[in-house]
């Protein structure tokens, strides 16, 4: 029983980081209808930048803040220099649907290659904000540390902040309109291109945060966040790819599910389980666990 409870706690902790990556992917999807496969690369680059900042300043808060700002700026640049010109060129032609997939996959490889060139391929450690030793409950030490609590709190805070922006602010309304009906949004005076860039910046910041939070547990290498991309994407699909709350719920469900698989079946089943979940959701509930159907098509 103790092992089961520990597994649930551990899974929730990991799941909160998957949730952050899912949020990043949902933010780009909701503002531009692009699945950003480069998100892992962007997060890796931001985390390496954070690593350098920490080497110079030894300040964790500064490291985290600069990594997030860098991630946001880099996300905006990806849209400005790559995605926006690309979408302008392909328009609504036959390759419009696959062009962003190709370009973000290409960008992922390019970033990982660049990071490898600059920092090398070996694993590096990244500091944690707080102790990673589990809390003590009575005589037992549970696998839930102050750092895990920090991750959980940060994830929920980020989710609430984004949910507020999307549902309650003018910027969020513009982002939703620009995502669903860009032409209608433009005719309503929304500067759609600018709004989309802001969406990419938000996502870049959220991805950078996910990278900085998971790396103390997994170590840092050019490809170290690939799995986070897969799990973040799976969590986003579990939540329906549209809903921020859905993405967070999806992240927690996936984190707990994978922790149970690792404990009771072995770690070699982790990757395949994520894919089985992904395919099962797409087949059985393509709108996600909390996705909605539109009501009327009159």
């Amino acid at each position: 029983m103790q092992q089961f409870v520990n597994t649930l706690i551990n899974g929730a902790s990991l799941g909160s980081i998957y949730s952050l990556m899912a949020l990043a992917m949902i933010l780009v999807w909701r503002s531009t209808r692009v699945v950003n496969f480069a998100q892992a690369g962007q997060a890796v680059l931001s985390t390496y930048v954070g690593l350098e900042i920490h080497r110079i300043t030894h300040s964790y808060p500064l490291t985290l803040i600069i990594a997030i700002i860098f991630g946001a700026l880099f996300g905006a640049l990806v849209d400005l220099l790559l995605v926006r010109p690309l979408m302008h060129r392909v328009g609504d032609g036959p390759i419009a649907a696959v062009a962003p997939v190709i370009v973000t996959l290409g960008l992922l490889s390019a970033i990982q290659g660049f990071v490898g060139l600059i920092w090398g391929g070996e694993y590096r450690s990244f500091p944690a904000a707080l102790s990673q030793n589990g809390f003590k409950v009575g005589l037992t030490r549970i696998p839930f540390s102050p750092f895990d609590l920090f991750i959980l709190f940060t994830t929920l805070l980020v989710m609430l902040a984004f949910a507020y922006i999307f549902q309650r602010s003018g910027l969020g309304l513009a982002m939703r309109a620009a995502a669903f009906e860009p032409e209608v949004a433009r005719l309503a005076g929304v500067r759609v291109a600018r709004v989309r860039t802001i969406g990419w910046a938000f996502a870049g910041g959220a991805g950078a945060l996910a990278g900085a939070l998971i790396t103390p547990t997994t170590l840092l290498a050019p490809n170290s966040l690939d799995l986070l991309l897969v799990f973040g994407f799976t969590a986003a699909v579990l939540g329906g790819l549209e809903s921020l709350v859905g993405g967070v719920v999806g992240g927690f469900l996936l984190g707990i599910g994978l922790a149970l698989v690792v404990t009771y079946l072995g770690s070699s089943f982790t990757f395949i389980t994520a894919f089985v979940v992904l395919i099962a959701v797409l087949l059985l509930r393509p709108r996600g666990l909390i996705g909605q159907r539109s009501v009327r098509n009159a």
């Binding site: 003018g170 309304l173 513009a174 939703r176 309109a177 669903f180 009906e181 032409e183 209608v184 949004a185 433009r186 005719l187 309503a188 005076g189 929304v190 500067r191 759609v192 539109s294 009501v295 009327r296 098509n297 009159a298």
Partner: protein, 235 residues
Amino acid sequence: MLSIVGLTTDHGHVRALENVSFEVPAGSLTAVIGANGAGKTTLLRTLTGLTKPTSGSAHWHSHDLLSLSTEEGVRHGVAHVPEGRSVVSELTVAENLQLGALWRGKDPDVQIAREEVLSLFPRLRERLSQRADTLSGGERQMLAIARALIARPDLLLLDEPSLGLAPLVVEQIFQTLDRLRKQTGLTVVLVEQNAISALEIADNAVLLSLGKIVISGSASLIAQDTELRHAYLGY
């Protein structure tokens, strides 16, 4: 005044508009009529920057419309309601209205404009919290027009507002338009295939065929021209 001179627009190798010139006096309602493929929709899309022209000019008062982006055009008082009940289905009625006035920021007049459009279309007031995709076709068309009006435009470009709607709903929308422009001095360019209804409320009309102007002038005179009606309007 809206002044269009020598406007030509191509879709690839197809000429959709050819050397179109006409004027729309401020405060008037001009109907642009013609069969499918006449270039009516292209005309409006060109005026609001959604389609790039090949040559020509279009001025609304002193503003060169063809040099403005779609978003800038809105800020210069030009509202365009494209065909197909252009609302954001995933947003509520209230959010669609808010969207139309978003660029006006915290202007206190926005709330007044909102009340005015809800008075024009009272059905929308009852549906404020509903998603736009739960509305009927007529209600969506009302919402699309209301979303444009909340920005307080001087020039309203309406593309086929009657398309696919019941005659009673069409009559209601046209009556509202007629009342609105008489009360506010709004200038309206109404693109319609439903020529009978459009000519009834229009001051002037422009008849397009295959991208060219066949005739332009008084709407009542064009409506009385039996030969034109038979040849181009099918009634």
